[in-house]
Symmetry: C2
Subunit: 587 residues, 2 copies
């Protein structure tokens, strides 16, 4: 049935192609040449929640659907997903969701967003699809979803869009970039990429030949990954990192703990290969590491020799000196296996003097403090800790400056649109483009919610702005980051809460007893009695005041007045601003 | 009077020297050779709150008295100061507090701690003393304090301690290291230092000649700065940074905004000098920048030509293209001048397309996210932003690996005690010492609260452990970081607060009305009604249950039961754990 729908759209594009004759001038709406619109809903003001809309008339394709980890001031929030308000009235127009690779900033939003869009078809390469399925499984959505596998050698057509793919090297196998043909011209979207002459395991090189072939036709716009635009030179090869790891494995007689990203299948393959070579046993810890390895092995992206790799839970005694423990937690995440090892709280691994820990990773901006705390703790337990600031035990998945200019040279685009990354990274990419000879007016530094309009060979930023609020996922709830919830949390995080209970007579409104004061997270023991007493006095006085001064005053007004009075006291006397909650109990 | 006291102690040390004859065996307690104890109360598990106690019998000197900025999980806390429990019964033994230099992690704790110790004498070099005075002024403590100026060429004696000083180059002028003679031998404490062949402005080179002279006598232990122990090579010179800044100033035709540390007087001097050379006017923004420059100028550490430097508030129009704006905020601090410029909220500076911003600084661990956000905002407003990851516009104040080994070679200590810095930094320093040939058993990796005992040429870590809690400064209050206050804030920051108001009959204990539910920072609008209703039902049921089941049940028990019941619901149904506060209003 779904294939029928696809066929219909393939038919449509064939139809559209046929109408590319003078006749189209007086043909139906469908056949009129329209503007192509490109709208990034996420991924442009952050590293995370990538999602871009390509819209031509009544046809939409979406590229990627990621989430982002919350920023520091989004207290208690689990994830942030793109705002899809723009798509809400256009669900029926969505022909396909194309996912470039299986990282969370490209697939993490799928279980939250897909159902809201009426479960449009999703297209992804084999491994990426496997990882999406795992995500959907967690939400019991797999059966309802319509997942399709991309073969990068084939062409896909969706209404007016014709898609070709080129493999890209990245820090996860099976990534692709996309060539998007539209009635307005050909666009290249790189996805996340690097040029790695020596990728490892199942990760393949960026398919330069295919890209060159696709770029024989003039490219109107290049949308290219900006994450490493401020790093000079070229990204070092994955195999180079492997050689450094081999060196450590060879020279270390005792136990090794290697923390890395669970999606870095090429790195994991190298560690397994060297473990075999140097007769080590590998124990794996961390849910995502175990799950990703299982998926990658099942789908043929990871080769695990028999009797070499074990789940850490399967070992009854602590892993010995000949073992390599492969673990998550390289970002210092609070609940990860490495953090638990560092806190001496891991059920199976007790760190010993003489253990070596390798952080085969680099810090994501904002995680530095957490990572250094883990390193401190590991050192205190007697471990030797090797990380990327000391030695090349990690390489990035993103193109550096020389790689970015190489991409520009290959694609020779008329327009450059730096994507993926924070503003200063995209600005760095824009400067590279300018130095490569692209006219400044042809370099578009857009933000989430901006609308690019493409017509007659011109790409312009429209005046229109699409809604792109931060939509937060918080436990099982979902909300707006600008909501009172977050700002209340911020206030309580800073100075706690002060509850003022006013028990009053329902009829006379008179106070029946002295106000009760309950404070949490506000004052320290030494000062608490005096402060609470004083707050009670202020609250009582304020309540009597407002009741006397204003007959028939409303509850809201009373609360506001009492709050203001107490706030003045806490701020002036204590230099603190807790969240003050007057509670009026009418009996 | 105070001089009399000092003279008495000078007398005492003379006496002690005389007793170095067989007679001391049967002499008074004062003359018995005792253990020297070195106790770091802070600065060893962090970069911050440096404070070390040197104790010999009934005589104590304290080196430094800093504070620390709170760690991420210390919500709402302003500063952390060292725990001085150990000194509380020993106030009368404190002969002097010696401050090595004027950074906040060495002087910030003074106004909080000094009064608690009975205002012991403080000794500091001229600029450092000026900066301490400013701190004490803020607390109206200057008159009560007993401040004394160190002349680094002179010797100070306090009871059994004889102190000599050597100037050290650091990122603030007038820093000193200390040679401490005790009956148990000579100790060298470097303070924060680097070897800078070309320091700028009033900052002087590390006085190697004096150090060599002091090290002609055998050095028992070297306590040395570990902050940069993981950085290879040698710290680049301040003048080198100045040349890079000159280059930018010379080549930039438009307005320049330079953010740096307000205590980096040498850097500020260079910027002023180049401003004069290239006919620029300097406007200064940020309270600490203005104050530190005023103190440094007054004391002769900063030379400001007439009609060149102005307070930003003195300009009525926005500073023009020929101006250099010198500002605080290089760490992305929320209330700093640079952050306000980046948020378009600065009253006097409106960023323009074509402005250049230099962050003449490097991120302190944990500040990276805040700094990158400021950089993003500046870029979005059209500025070109230059920071230390792009160009050498900053240098550290701390010795790197080659400098640290040079210090070890100069001092040739029997024992090495890495100080200042997080554990992994001190461990890196220990490894350097080991490579330099110091025996591993003579390298002491101690932590805050450890006690080093020195006797008969041996330095050993004692089994004793001194209390070193995190003492937090929070508004005008002071408390223990382990208190309920902080953990309540953490809970509320994550999931907010849920107040359950149970209005009950004082006699029968029966509920008089349905429980009122007040939630803040807990649920988002969409879900709030349903959740609050459900919580009310659970709370009512729980209350009735416990009242019926258990006659005469206490309030605390009722609350605990209701809380448990509601907690179960929020956790299972919403995957959230708010702070639940049942309030029983008996009427």
């Amino acid at each position: 049935m779904e294939t029928d729908r696809l066929d219909k759209w393939i038919g449509k594009i064939t139809g559209a192609q046929k109408t590319r004759t003078p006749r189209r001038r007086h043909s139906k709406k469908d056949h009129k040449v329209q503007k192509l619109r490109i709208i990034p809903l996420g991924g442009l003001d952050e590293v995370g929640k990538n999602m871009t809309v390509f819209e031509y008339g009544d046809d939409i394709i979406v590229v990627d659907m990621g989430f982002q980890f919350p920023e520091e001031d989004m207290l208690g929030v689990d994830y942030v997903i793109p705002d899809i308000s723009y798509l809400e009235g256009k669900k029926k127009n969505i022909r396909a969701v194309i996912i470039t690779h299986g990282h969370m900033d490209h697939i993490g939003g799928i279980p939250y967003i897909l159902p809201k869009l009426g479960m449009p078809k999703v297209f992804a390469t084999k491994l990426t699809r496997g990882l999406i399925e795992r995500r959907l499984d967690e939400f019991e959505l797999t059966k309802m979803a319509n997942l399709n596998t991309i073969n990068p050698e084939e062409t896909l057509r969706f209404g007016p869009f014709t898609l070709n793919f080129f493999r890209v090297a990245h820090s996860i196998p099976d990534g692709v970039g996309i060539s998007i043909d539209t009635p307005q011209g050909r666009i290249i979207h790189t996805g996340d990429f690097k040029f790695d002459p020596e990728p490892a395991g199942s990760t393949q090189r960026t398919d330069i030949r295919k890209l060159q072939k696709l770029c024989q036709k003039p490219i109107l716009a290049l949308l290219s990954d900006s994450t490493n635009s401020l790093s000079p030179g070229t990204t070092i090869s994955e195999k180079e990192v492997g050689r450094n790891l081999e060196d450590i494995i060879r020279k270390t007689p005792k136990r090794l703990i290697i923390a890395s990203f669970s999606s870095l299948i090429g790195r994991i393959q190298q560690i397994i290969d060297y473990a075999q070579k140097y007769k080590r046993t590998v124990f794996v810890s961390g849910r995502s590491m175990i799950e990703n390895m299982a998926i990658a092995e099942k789908l043929g992206y990871l080769k695990i020799p028999k009797r070499l790799v074990f789940d850490i839970r399967r070992t009854k005694k602590h892993p010995g000196n000949d073992s390599i423990i492969l673990t998550t937690g390289s970002q210092g995440e609070a609940v990860s296996a490495l953090t638990r090892i560092a806190m001496s709280e891991h059920p199976h691994v007790k760190l010993k003097e003489g253990d070596t820990v390798i952080l085969s990773s680099s810090p994501i901006i904002g995680n530095e403090r957490a990572i250094f705390t883990v390193i401190n703790n590991l050192c205190m337990l007697g471990a030797r800790v090797i990380h990327s600031a000391i030695m090349d035990v990690h390489t990035s998945g993103h193109a550096k400056q020389d790689d970015l200019t190489r991409m520009i040279k290959l694609v020779k685009p008329k327009y450059l649109v730096p994507i993926h990354g924070e503003y200063f990274m995209r600005k760095g990419h824009a400067e590279l483009g300018s130095r490569m000879g692209i006219k400044n007016e042809n370099i578009l530094l857009i933000q989430n919610g901006d609308v690019l309009e493409i017509f007659a060979g011109k790409v312009e930023k429209s005046q229109e702005k699409v809604e792109t609020n931060y939509i937060v996922i918080d436990g099982l709830g979902e909300g707006d980051v600008d909501s009172l919830v977050i700002s209340d949390r911020q206030k309580m995080a800073e100075n706690g809460v002060l509850i003022i209970l006013l028990t009053v007579d329902g009829k006379t409104k008179k106070l029946l007893q002295k106000p009760s004061i309950i404070s949490r997270g506000f004052v320290y023991l030494k000062e608490s009695q005096e402060v609470e007493k004083e707050v009670g006095v202020k609250a009582e006085r304020a309540y009597r005041n407002i009741i006397e001064k204003k007959k028939g005053v409303k509850r809201g007004e009373i609360k506001k007045y009492v709050r203001g009075s107490v706030e003045k006291y806490t701020h002036q006397k204590l230099e603190r601003k807790p969240l003050i909650i007057p509670v009026i109990d009418e009996v």
